[in-house]
Point group: C2
Chain length 606, copies 2
Amino acid sequence: MDATEQKRRLDALRADLERRDLAAYVIPSSDEYMLEYAPPCGERLAWLTGFTGSVGTAVISRERAALFVDGRYTVQAQRQALTEHWEHRHLTLEPPSAWLEQIVLAGERVGYDPRVHTPSSLSGLRASLERAGVSLTPVAGNLVDAAWADRPREPNSAVQLYPEQLAGESSRQKRERMAAELGREGLDALLVSAPDSLAWLLNIRGSDLAHTPFALGRAVLRRDATLRLYMSSAKLGPEVLAAFRAQGPGAISVAEPGELLAELRSLTGQRVRVDQANASEWLHESLKAEGAQLDIGPDPCTLAKAQKTPEELAGIRSAHLRDGLAVLRFLAWLEQTAPGGETEWSVADKLAELRALDVEYRGPSFNTISAFGPNAALPHYRASKDSALPLAPGNLYLVDSGGQYLDGTTDITRVSVIGAPSGEMRRRYTQVLKGHVALARARFPVGTTGSQLDPFARQFLWQDGVDYDHGTGHGVGCYLSVHEGPHNVSKRPSDVALRPGMIVSNEPGYYKPGEFGIRIENLVAVALSTPQPAQAEKVTLGFETLTVVPYERRLIELGLLTAEERAWIDAYHARVRESLGPLLAQRDQAAGVDAFLAAKTAPLGD
Amino acid sequence: MDATEQKRRLDALRADLERRDLAAYVIPSSDEYMLEYAPPCGERLAWLTGFTGSVGTAVISRERAALFVDGRYTVQAQRQALTEHWEHRHLTLEPPSAWLEQIVLAGERVGYDPRVHTPSSLSGLRASLERAGVSLTPVAGNLVDAAWADRPREPNSAVQLYPEQLAGESSRQKRERMAAELGREGLDALLVSAPDSLAWLLNIRGSDLAHTPFALGRAVLRRDATLRLYMSSAKLGPEVLAAFRAQGPGAISVAEPGELLAELRSLTGQRVRVDQANASEWLHESLKAEGAQLDIGPDPCTLAKAQKTPEELAGIRSAHLRDGLAVLRFLAWLEQTAPGGETEWSVADKLAELRALDVEYRGPSFNTISAFGPNAALPHYRASKDSALPLAPGNLYLVDSGGQYLDGTTDITRVSVIGAPSGEMRRRYTQVLKGHVALARARFPVGTTGSQLDPFARQFLWQDGVDYDHGTGHGVGCYLSVHEGPHNVSKRPSDVALRPGMIVSNEPGYYKPGEFGIRIENLVAVALSTPQPAQAEKVTLGFETLTVVPYERRLIELGLLTAEERAWIDAYHARVRESLGPLLAQRDQAAGVDAFLAAKTAPLGD
């Protein structure tokens, strides 16, 4: 977007500020569903500012405009939101409140759209402005939408039923289980505001979003296990409606999204669970206005959904085999081909092509991070076709990617080396691998949280005075979001215990700015240790590694591994060989994939 | 205390309830200073109920009386507070609020003494009672004190100056540093309500309490670094007063404790930092009544005090050598003597006697835990002379003890074996030792908290499905409290980073109820790793082990140790030998201590 267009869009909003007697207006990156990846119609911040990062806030006043982003996005924001129109600020160190206090006078009003903010996201700003005598005022109708003439329509993709044999639990069972949970907590209803809870609870999927098979909508679940779904009827074909009807009279009823507000009236006097993480201020305030008693707390679907059923786990294992096959073929091709004139962009295309060979493949589970050399030192790097680095000898290539399959969601990072690695690269790769293996091998009592396990993955880097500035693991859905809660493995303290069936990534890394980057990622499932230790006094859990792709032995410094670590890696590689070998096709032999698999999974030797 | 006396005391309080028109009265274990070990005059709960555990709450109504304790004290409480007069409840699972709601009617009043509760300790109870229409009412004058005819007087021991060459920082420097901290936070004054902050800030010690050299009092520190001390003038001899005067006119002034309330008036309109952890509700309310603006937050002395000066560390190292010598002599004697008709009680006497040989020894830093066999499976066991177990072959003896020395506070746990240990005892001892060594060897970047390191100490037990139900480490003062904050090493999430100079215990354990108990405890100091790792990108910290006493090699299963662990233990033992050897006296040779030291610190062999 050029400077003239940026100016035109700002001017349109400023005219609206004037009309509505607002001194300023706040535009967050979040949309109505508080999604990690909003649909195009929800990308209001990008439309206004040009900034395409995942988190940021813009504030415009009648004369000035500022964009607030965190350290990850400082450079990108300044390139995209042109400095002749936009001031640039740090989102947490120089927050919008400080900037607004200089600009807005006591008695004036700052507006926002309550449908795209959660109450907690506004509380700090509201308190600051109130101290300055400024009122933070909800405004009906989004100002960006009013100015955005060709704003895309809300996504309206057809809803698919998710097969019960894959889910392992019927929607009826799930609704009854969640309804019983409401009963235990003395609640009358649950506002289902998160699209992944909705997908899980109803055993449905959609394609309203890139990367994540959500069908956008809301629902209210009652203590009697009946559910009213607020979703455009255009999305719901006869098969889906028949499946809903088959659950019994009144079990699942459907209404248009626009009816939600009117129907909240039926919750007057009821105790309604609302999850602050994804219910907008508008939803909160509408419920309060109708006289509902809000019970702020976690949506119980989140914890239930995180604990995969045996059927889901079986599907996920299968998805990982087929995904592993694609990544194996890719790595074999890469080792034979690179550098060969390839770039970060072109090799990512090759990987996408190989994944697409699987009939259950539905697309990437997130934007592939295909990063060579210094670019791999940026954990969230995204290559573009025009600026992609060519691969060249003497450095590392990192690829973090995943697939959506009907039977599971994958996420894997591997590092390959083009030419000869430096001693430092091998030492750091081995330390990252040791941490990754320590986490994979961990055993721990029921009640242990991911934050308690996080240091196991960092300990070997710490010995050398280095670390990585991201979490070690995030939850992963089953043909749902590649990032899901409530658990994780992170430095940040968590009070969510890991439970059997939870899937989490195991992805320590190391990043040397301007030089190279390393990350090794498998998905693992929390599982009961089998057998339980002979004299165990506590129920003992561990991890089952789901991802099946070899590590890069050229980057392993054998002398740094203990005998136990080598044994674990050898056993893992043997499993990779035995799992993927039988899946190889005739043409894989011609392409050297068989030989690659055999060589990469042989015992580590001396 | 017999049943008649318990009844008499209850009746006295109940008569007072009637006079004051109270339906019930709440008696906590805490005293006016929220101390871990209250002076005798503050042991109101023990006087009333007979219960001598460290944490509990009693509530009496006109007809009923209940004692609330946690799981540690269930058995002890039922033995001490006789069930014919006292109902027994779990402190957190069946809290006082639930009990009171059954007994007290709407409109009635429940009383408490605001001097012995913090606001946060009352908030849950207050909210519950208010919902039931009951008012929780502060009452002037403690009801127990009124009934307790021979209540001991407040301790009034003489204050000693703490030598500046041991403290490493003058009181003036400390006051100026803390005053600058107040200035940075925009505060006018700090209410110094914790006796250890007072001792640290003024470089004074007292003997108002068992185990802990506090001089009870309060102070107000102003932003100009002047301090007004509220302490009985009878405690302050001419030497101390002269030292105060020498700090300049008005720098330190003294007033009687009773003047505090009147003088709080001088804080009207000022912003005063108050630490909720140890300032009573009475202090909070008195300040508010005088129009001060309360700023609730941590007393900055707590963090400053925790980071020992080089001079303090030098003294602490020296104290550990002399303390180690006493424990070494004890363990040598024990190995030669036990069982020999000795009991848990008699051997603890021997240890006390050996510690007392040191001229700087001031007494135990806490009640010694001298525990044989099944008693050692109770982490907080306390032997009594009459019921002490005799030592006998085939089990473990655990001793957790510490000393107060003018130059430092020690805390050490060692386990010895009488006769032959079982294979299980050796396996568990070795797993506990491996965890203890893993923590001792840890390196970690600046910013790491103790809760991040805690799993290192548990990991080997976790592999076997076992664990221990206490923290791994607590902070320790310098000739101050053996338990101090703000840091620790614990499962419970902490946001306090470990900083150089902080002392913490390293004490994993294992407890098999009814059979045996193991704990291995050294004190360690957080220190910069020297040298820093060659290519360190973060400032790297580690631990210096302060305690110098051999482990029990008869309990080590060598096959479970890695080469690195054996090397660490051998190096530690070599240091123990080199440190303690030269301190041995002629009579130690005769007593076989030399030979014991040589044998216990030899390389572990095969």
